[in-house]
């Protein structure tokens, strides 16, 4: 299937609950003209209201469970949340029914985490409505969410390492004896009871420091159980688990469902979504795209709904001609982070490294540049092997590195524009051990013109610039060294569209001038737009390589989420 295939009606949105509402086409990118303003967001909510009771012939063994309820336990409608100028969620809508496991999927940056924090009471939405059992509520803080029966299991478990497992479960709600003293015995007994309900063996008395991630998650789940939570949100709970641990977790999810809880399950692994969930909500660019029964959907359908964009036309003829190999990475391995990474980047070529956040892309880049150590393999630049863990060596050999987090790692925010631009080239601007301000200014002014930097004065602190112009300063800083290889990690994150295009043009121009570029990006349009070759990482390994002619968002997402076989 390709993006153009019509599949309206191919997805049985078995709800059709809204009277007169047509069975909305859930994924409408086929008709969408551009990335922005897809009609999907307006057209789809029709397919939402689906009582859990009508789950139909789901593939998972559905326990009889509680009787189907007419109204959702929890409903969030049209929530918005902005951070300054960044709109994290512009249309957050989700309904959860008792006894269902409901998947929330979307690309990186689709707004899933913001939704989780809204439900957890950590963020307060700017607008929108949150209903619990049909009653509007406001969650002012995490305690409110807990009291409302919402438990959140974060991707990173949030335990108290110094306290016992039982205390972690019951913190703030410990069973009491006379005189409001904590009843430790009962607390331990109840913890043990929770663990036996979950079918695990954990000592309630032991300190939680040193527990495996899986056991830490079990403690979090026991906490949710002890709260008698009716809504349990799991934010990528399987990200750090092995297959057996995932199986155990899924047993727990089934137990929770049969106990009448609603589980909101967030995962990038679509096969897990199909295994454990009954319904799915897809988000894209902070918007609700579709809500539907999973039965009858394919992973392909979901990927398409998640991606949902028309490809930007790439400017033909702007390609550089790939020359000799500049960067040669051989079997690079860092235990537990990435495994057996081999890749080449040639002069004049932009190699895009795609994959989900956490798949190990940035870590590979950091290892190549020498910030992090690696356990095995080697990095060769222009025929010379680089010392491991030596950024100075990497710089001397001709690598430039534009990190993901420019505010923290790319720039000295309080220093001036010209100082930041000159920072990596001080050796060249030095005379008799001193950096002359005039030389620094001339150098910076030259680059400011070349990169079309918009600024007031070169002596203004770099913090005054917009995000896009800050990124240009970081680029200028490295370009001033005339690197043979430029590594850029998320080069256009948080940059407005116009400047984004400018950065893209700049990278393409650099490649044409013979620089080898390794670009890490989570934005698939960007990857497709300027990548000459596209490598995809998944869970620390390279899983696919595409030339820019045969790459598509669907194929990349499929490789990144482990759905390779479905993308044909």
């Amino acid at each position: 299937m390709t993006a153009g295939d019509a599949h309206d009606g191919g997805i049985p949105s078995s709800g059709s609950a809204v009277p007169g509402g047509p069975p909305a086409p859930p994924a409408t990118q086929a008709s969408a003209p551009s990335a922005e303003g897809t009609p999907a967001s307006e057209g789809t909510p029709a397919s939402t209201a689906t009582p859990a009771g009508s789950t139909g012939p789901a593939s998972t063994p559905t326990p009889a469970g509680p009787a189907p309820s007419a109204q959702p336990v929890l409903a969030l409608h049209d929530a918005t949340k902005s951070f300054g100028a960044v709109h994290a969620v512009t249309n957050g809508t989700i309904d959860l029914y008792a006894g269902e496991a409901h998947a929330l999927v979307g690309e990186n940056g689709a707004g899933k985490s913001t939704m989780v924090k809204i439900l957890a009471g950590v963020y307060q939405p700017d607008s929108g409505e949150l209903l619990i059992d049909g009653t509007p509520v406001r969650l002012h803080n995490p305690a409110d969410a807990q009291n409302a029966g919402i438990a959140v299991i974060y991707q990173e478990p949030t335990l108290f390492p110094d306290l016992s497992v039982a205390e972690n479960i019951f913190m703030g709600r410990q069973p009491l004896l006379a005189g409001r003293r904590i009843d430790r015995r009962r607390m331990h007994a109840e913890s043990a009871a929770l663990f036996s309900r979950l079918g695990v063996k954990l000592d309630p008395g032991r300190i939680s420091r040193g527990l495996s991630i899986a056991d830490q998650q079990i403690v979090e789940i026991a906490k949710a159980l002890s709260l008698d939570a009716r809504v349990i949100v799991m934010d990528e709970p399987t990200a750090a688990l092995s297959a057996t641990e995932v199986a155990r977790l899924f047993d727990v999810v089934r137990t929770l469902r049969s106990g009448g809880a609603a589980v909101l399950f967030i995962s990038h692994r679509l096969e897990e979504v199909f295994e454990i969930c009954q319904r799915v909500t897809v988000m894209r660019d902070g918007r609700h795209v579709l809500t539907s029964e999973l039965a009858g959907l394919t992973a392909d359908d979901l990927v398409r709904a998640m991606v949902g964009r028309q490809m930007e036309e790439r400017a033909a003829g702007e390609r550089g001609v790939a020359g000799e190999v500049v960067l040669h990475v051989e079997h690079l391995t860092r235990e537990g982070v990435f495994t057996d990474i081999s890749l080449d980047v040639r002069a004049g070529e932009i190699v895009a490294l795609a994959g989900l956040v956490g798949s190990g892309r940035s870590e590979v880049a950091r290892a190549v540049f020498g910030i992090d150590r690696y356990d095995a393999g080697r990095v060769v630049l222009r025929g010379r092997q680089l010392r491991r863990a030596s950024p100075t060596g990497a710089m001397a050999a001709g690598i430039g590195f534009v990190p993901e987090d420019r505010r923290q790692q790319g720039l000295v925010m309080d220093m001036s524009i010209q100082q930041n631009v000159a920072l990596a080239s001080l050796a060249r601007l030095r005379q008799g051990g001193l950096v002359r301000s005039a030389a620094e200014r001339a150098f910076a002014a030259d680059w400011a013109v070349r990169l079309n930097l918009k600024y007031g004065r070169l002596i203004d602190p770099v913090s005054r610039l917009s995000g896009g112009n800050q990124q240009k300063v970081v680029l200028a800083k490295w370009l001033g060294r005339q690197p043979a290889l430029l590594i850029v990690d998320e080069p256009t994150r948080g940059i407005d569209i116009a400047t984004k295009a400018e950065v893209h043009r700049l990278l393409v121009r650099l490649a044409r001038d013979g620089v080898a570029i390794l670009m890490i990006s989570s934005e698939l349009p960007e990857v497709l737009h300027i990548g000459d070759r596209i490598l995809v990482m998944r869970e620390g390994r390279l899983t696919a390589e595409f030339g820019h002619e045969d790459a598509s968002e669907e194929k990349i997402m499929a490789a990144a989420t482990g759905q390779l076989q479905e993308a044909s």
Partner: protein, 350 residues
């Protein structure tokens, strides 16, 4: 399948893991056992060299010297456990000592209880100011209490001027407080021990006490767990201040000559005692009992170095060295504890 809903209550069978729980509790206690063992070994060595170390007079002297430090350590423990620090206690003690003791001169015949209440009030006010700035103003406690250390000392100096309170102005009933004994043990030491016991029990057995540990162990998780973090931290600083206020009155009764330098540098001695006593400096674990034993150990070291005839000039260097030794021990113990726990972790899937 609806049966699975009904079987959710009570555990089946005997309370599981009671054997392993005892073991964990033993492991927990090792922190204090360790420091007590160090203390006993130290006393034994000192006594074998100089038997007079253990005579009644010296022991009484030792206990009385420890009381103020041990009491201050209780408040400091509450603060440190929550991953904060209170550097202002020495200044609070000084201000409270002078103001409370000088009331005897201004109002002869004033009830001693009232004098203690004055000290308590001064301490409460200072502690609440610290707590507000840390909990509401979100300023790091190191910065806040470093500032109040100087501010409160400055106020003290302004009030004292060039004066001092001397023993003549203090009634005997007041100056006798540290001297009264029962069966050779100073009353005051017993009273302080009881107070510390109550404090430690509060931190161990009450929700708000446990929440201090939770905050120190993982502040972000504490917030997510719905713990009123600001309120708890405010309370800890208030308690620390109040305790320092009362300690100031006791200090006045003990030393009887009070000028504007009273209690200078006490904060560091007390933090040393707290750390030596097994309270983790970054919060989350340790107890007030351990901190009190730590204070006793520091006093013993000082006393022993005197008794053994070490030159006075060596005292600070040796005390500092022993502090380092104690922290190293603490580190070794916690590393061992971790590996021991890992080994016996009932690892499902690990």
């Amino acid at each position: 399948m609806t049966t699975s809903v009904t079987e959710r209550r009570e555990p089946a069978g005997a309370p599981p893991g009671s054997g392993s729980r005892r073991l964990t509790e033993r492991v927990f206690r090792i922190r204090e056992f360790g420091i007590i063992a160090v203390l006993l070994v130290f006393v034994a060595i000192t006594t074998s060299i100089q038997p007079s170390f253990l005579n009644q007079q010296n022991l009484q002297f030792l206990l009385i010297n420890t009381t103020v430090y041990a009491l201050l350590a209780l408040g400091e423990t509450m603060v440190v456990v929550s991953r904060n620090v209170d550097l202002s206690i020495g200044s609070v003690l000084g201000l409270s000592a002078y103001v409370s003791a000088s009331t005897f001169g201004h109002h002869p015949g004033i009830p001693i209880l009232l004098v203690f209440l004055i000290g308590l009030g001064i301490g409460l006010a200072c502690g609440m100011a610290n707590g507000l700035m840390v909990a509401v103003g979100r300023v790091p406690s190191l910065v806040v209490t470093l500032a109040t250390l100087y501010i409160i000392r400055g106020i003290d100096i302004l009030i004292v001027g060039g004066n001092e309170v001397t023993a003549q102005t203090l009634p005997n009933s007041f100056t006798n407080i540290p001297r009264a004994t029962v069966a050779g043990i100073p009353y005051l030491a017993i009273a302080i021990a009881v107070v510390i016991g109550i404090g430690a029990y509060y931190m161990r057995a009450f929700r708000s006490g446990r929440e201090l540990y939770a905050i120190g162990s993982n502040p972000e998780a504490a917030r997510l767990a719905g713990i009123p973090v600001g309120k708890r931290i405010f309370t800890a600083f208030t308690a620390s201040g109040a305790i320092a206020g009362v300690a100031g009155v006791l200090w006045a009764a003990q030393y009887q000559t009070i000028d504007s330098t009273a209690g200078t540098g006490y904060e560091l001695t007390v933090i040393s005692a707290v750390v030596v006593g097994g309270v983790a400096i970054f919060g989350g674990s340790g107890s007030a009992v351990g901190a009190a034993v730590g204070a006793l150990l520091l006093s013993s070291i000082n006393s022993a170095l005197n008794v053994l005839g070490f030159p006075q000039l060596w005292l600070e260097a040796i005390a500092g060295f022993l502090l380092l030794l104690a922290i190293t021990l603490d580190r070794i113990i916690s590393v061992r504890l971790m590996t021991a726990l890992r080994r016996r972790s009932p690892g499902v899937g690990t």
